[in-house]
Symmetry: C3
Subunit: 324 residues, 3 copies
Amino acid sequence: MKNNLKGRHFLTTQDWSVEELEQVFALAAKLKKAKKEGRPTPLLRNKTLYMIFFDASTRTRNSFETGMTQLGGHGIYLSPDKMQISHGENARDTAKVLSRYGEGIAIRHCAYGAGNAYLREVAANAGVPVINMQCDVYHPCQILADYLTIREKFKTTRGLKIGVAWTSAPNYVRPLSVPQSLILLMPRFGLNVTLAYPPEFRLMPEIEEQARKNAKGAGVKFEISHRFEDAFENADVVIPKSWGPLVTTRDTGEGLRLIEKYPSWRCDRERMALGHKRVIYMHPLPADRGREVTDEVIDGPQSVVYDEAENRLHVQKALMALTL
Amino acid sequence: MKNNLKGRHFLTTQDWSVEELEQVFALAAKLKKAKKEGRPTPLLRNKTLYMIFFDASTRTRNSFETGMTQLGGHGIYLSPDKMQISHGENARDTAKVLSRYGEGIAIRHCAYGAGNAYLREVAANAGVPVINMQCDVYHPCQILADYLTIREKFKTTRGLKIGVAWTSAPNYVRPLSVPQSLILLMPRFGLNVTLAYPPEFRLMPEIEEQARKNAKGAGVKFEISHRFEDAFENADVVIPKSWGPLVTTRDTGEGLRLIEKYPSWRCDRERMALGHKRVIYMHPLPADRGREVTDEVIDGPQSVVYDEAENRLHVQKALMALTL
Amino acid sequence: MKNNLKGRHFLTTQDWSVEELEQVFALAAKLKKAKKEGRPTPLLRNKTLYMIFFDASTRTRNSFETGMTQLGGHGIYLSPDKMQISHGENARDTAKVLSRYGEGIAIRHCAYGAGNAYLREVAANAGVPVINMQCDVYHPCQILADYLTIREKFKTTRGLKIGVAWTSAPNYVRPLSVPQSLILLMPRFGLNVTLAYPPEFRLMPEIEEQARKNAKGAGVKFEISHRFEDAFENADVVIPKSWGPLVTTRDTGEGLRLIEKYPSWRCDRERMALGHKRVIYMHPLPADRGREVTDEVIDGPQSVVYDEAENRLHVQKALMALTL
């Protein structure tokens, strides 16, 4: 397996070919097996990944930092309030200086209209790979884990139906990055996608357009519906997940009002029963239990949420080992 | 030495037999010797311990994180305000996800009435060992270090008298976990215990009852007194230490008033003179100098506080090496 | 090369002889070469450095922590608000306890009139080396990196002119430590120093006096001017950098007023043109672009700021490898 990925940024799956992404999945499977068997994999010995978090995290921080440890290196958790970013240091200086010290920079920055721009500015100035740990537009590492999980469950993914559905959860305004990254990647691996949301919760138009092109290029279906159940009917995989009406309004009060307008958009046993009998339930966590999904479903036999969370570790280790 | 401790939680010493605890002390002594001689002990190479701190820490965080480094692994310091625990993630999800990534979870959570319950919920859902770094009820790692220190100083511990005494220190309401863990463990290793506190500062009734049973089972004395000096008279070891009147009142104003009612409960030269001539002074630190103890005593020849602090490192390394 | 530096504190370059500092530069050059060639340098395997930051940091934290990783050890980032320092733990206890666990303590504490005193108290009680990561008086690691950068650019440094100039930047009151450490060290390595500032921005009198002695001892010039251009005329190296009028006033409003009194003290193309044709521009970063320096200069061909930032890593690795 030849590695032509050394030094590459990973800001969105869209920048990488299917063949390049297959290298990640192949190495992820090997690293997962090695971990289960207790075999060391010191592919990044004494190397450093900087992990800059503008937003809170459990899975992302721990999976990246643990991943670096398992590869023999070290992940440094950085919070902008403790850095001189809070003293006005610009993205260019941060990028250029960190590139002189360590081997990679990973960033989470979900502020709508700002996060992706910051990542791209760091990437433009960095001499080392920049990895997107979630921004306002994309969450590519999550979606790699999602796809690996689907492939593990179904062996082959061509022709499967995945339903990506909005759910109603009021506690905070979540980014669009998960559904957007899902609809971009899944068609490229042969899945038919049904995206369901109330009209006010549309995704960024250019992303929906790109997803349509990706589906056409791969010869699969990409459909948008305003009916919750359409995401479930005959589906093999469902990912019901809340996000904010960010394209429609930036007003928090109005946003919360829109969320409360659709309380029945919640995944429950009845909706799961609409799917194929082998349907699996996925969610990137943390889920708003009771609002997004009933305990019965998320803790039930169709749920693969912990396998999905685990796969974050394996795909990210592969990604780092290939690029850093 | 056979290790049947792999995978075991360590929430309280009470769950472990004396023989199991002896395994910890035996390995701690070996690891301490190896460190002094500069010999590497990579027993947990590339392994990860998650350290979740709901409360501030110096000794605990640094001894655990340094311990993981010395064992070849890595400790990740986690603060709930930077995790999605602050976004409502429940203990079950935290436990299940972290268990998929790393090899152990350590938690400090001292909120009265909540800490131990949280630890037990994590332990019930975790696939890896959970270590108690101090909760509202127990501080078992501190007490392992205390016991190791006593054994180092006296060689044999059966028949020694240890005085555990309340002291008056107003700066913050400290948990009951240190005295409670002391009275549970020390009798099991043959020490006679005198516990002294003003009536309002009693410990949790079920813990005092269990301590009484432990003493009876080991054929040693466990006495409760309301006179400060009783903890010192003819003692071989004294641990005078403040805690809050949490069993009596949850009102902060009333609590501080009760603390101020007993200003003479402070360890000084006169009290130390009541002890056996070989008496040692212990304190888990940080001590409230001037209030809990005079500088003369804590910085004097009878004080072993830094040896005690050091032993945190060695017992915890042993504990991790045996369970993770 | 014999190492007689094991166990030595590094609070200021003034405490170390030129020969001792040369050992640092020599090892720094070797470590830099090894990193470029991808050769591992595990000189501090499984060793721990505690990094206590009372103030925000990007370069310092990341260069120290990455340095420890590259040397096979681990740096622990400590923020006093998460430690029991915030519960009144004194410097003595912090020093004595951390010395029992790990191999070195590094501290940044820039509060005027308090930082250096804290470092000295920790050093007096620590059983392991204490490294100054910047205090109110000194920033010796920065200046080691500065000198290494100058030597890399000019090969020999005797007889060069370095201009250290105050600049006008209002965003926050910066410490005196960088210019003070520059004027102390540079004469000892044969550079002629011109220090330029408006009268209200003088440095600590005892430091200026010591710099004068250092220059006399080395047979070079040390001049103080109140004209910005004097730092630039015929200079080989310029370091124009803001600092607060801390010796003159502790009043923030008055301080900001004094800063605004000299808006023309900014490094630009015209000032750079006054220097020797080979003149280089240096700055420890983060620079206040537009106020301290024009983008044209800091991003132009005379600027060596990223090489200077990189050298932080190499000199600090050498320093740690020699002392820890």
